[in-house]
Amino acid sequence: MMKNVIITGADRGLGLSLCKEYLGRGYRVFAGKYLQEYELLEALRAQNKNLHILPLDVANRNSITAARETVRTEAGGVLDMLISNAALMGPVNCSLYEPPMDLEAVWNSFSVNAMGAARMVELFLPLLDKSEMKRLCFVSSEVSCITLMKTSRDGGFPYPMSKAALNMCVRLMHNQLYPQGYTFRLYHPGWMKRVMPDGSRGEEAVYDPDHIAGHAAAYFEASLKDEQRLVMFDYLGQEWPF
């Protein structure tokens, strides 16, 4: 039977590359579309009818609920894998010595990057419960790692704070849901190039999201021997502390 996966923030970047990967692996892919100005998903859909594009804002419960009802209909009520990839990352003014700090940005990052993941799991749980696989995957970041954070990122507090909160959120879910048969992946993808509306890549950064997606997709899909452990794993196959 065809497996079903949903990927949030799939307009471009890692989310889009993961869609391509899972289509290649024979999945029915539900891609969360957030950006109006990007049409890369539509181009992919023209090549592969197993791609379903859903409007999806992970900060909005109504949007997630509507997406879930579409998935319920199109996927026969079963979701096998959820990949929480959407993130708010833009520059913000949050420097200690340049008051006032933009605290609304701190909240918005938290609401999308940490709570967004929790909302997705909460609202898709009825469909995930019906699957054998029950795989929950979360794209985090090295900046979530409190132990190894060596910079102040002055002005950029919100994003690392939100990713640390995401890791805690995944821990609480793991404590509850692992005993119920769920398995978890927490992933740091490395420094990836930005994808432009025409599909070209930005100059900055090291890795192409397509390359990272190959590694991530294999890791997300694999069965591991030590599923009881929650670890943050990176694109080089290394584990990170929290």
Binding site: V106, V121, D154, A164, N167, M168
Partner: protein, 210 residues
């Protein structure tokens, strides 16, 4: 005279800590926890009377009775927002407000209350999304401000007073000792100084991981 500011005083531990500082001869300013308080008013008062802060103790530790939902039962987003504002947004605004006074002081010590319950490594909770996520975000913030401020002489203490687990008197005395002393320079090797490492310790002296 050394000046200490304790913000968001609310729990028995917080009151005992203020008393302990007074007993030791500190000049103590307090922001009460139940009055969200006009930060600017307190800042102006401390500026006028003392002109500096040496020790900054933020005891913000908001918990909510309805923060007992799991992801399976459904998130209470109102509770999460309330707790996040109290444990994250208010403390960030407060630190920003008092930083110029801390810059003017000699002590340059920042102390914050947290809980080992909110250690990503250690927590066994399945609920507490409001509290645990807010504190995890703050732990990340502490590490970043430590990186920012230690080059200008600041040191930090992250402390779990073990509310409701041990007597507030004991926790306050342990906190006083821990907050004011200098931590971990090796006598044989003065270049090796544990102060530059951010440490999370509880009232029984145990170190916790993040």
């Amino acid at each position: 005279m050394q000046v200490v500011l304790i913000t968001r005083q609310k729990n028995p531990f917080d009151h005992r800590l203020a008393q302990a500082f007074k007993r030791e001869g500190y000049r103590v300013y307090v922001i009460e926890g139940d009055c969200e308080g006009d930060l600017e008013t307190t800042r102006a008062l401390v500026q006028k009377e003392a002109g500096k802060i040496d020790l900054y103790v933020d005891v913000s530790d908001e918990r909510h009775i309805a923060d007992d939902f799991t992801v399976g039962h459904g998130l209470n987003e109102g509770v999460m927002r309330h707790v996040y504002e109290a444990n994250v947004l208010w403390p960030m605004r407060a630190l920003e407000t008092f930083l110029p006074l801390l810059d003017a002081g000699q002590g340059k010590r920042l102390c914050f209350v947290s809980s080992a319950q909110a250690s990503i490594n250690e927590t066994r909770d399945t609920d507490g999304y409001g509290y645990n996520l807010s504190k995890a975000a703050m732990h990340s913030f502490f590490q970043m401000i430590a990186n920012k401020l230690t080059p200008s002489g600041y040191t930090l203490r992250i402390y779990d007073p073990m509310h409701r687990e041990i007597a507030p008197d004991l926790a306050a005395e342990a906190a006083l000792h821990y907050f004011v002393r200098r931590r971990g320079t090796e006598r044989q090797n003065p270049l090796r100084d544990d102060e530059t490492r951010l440490v999370f310790r509880d009232a029984l002296g145990r170190e916790h991981t993040w």
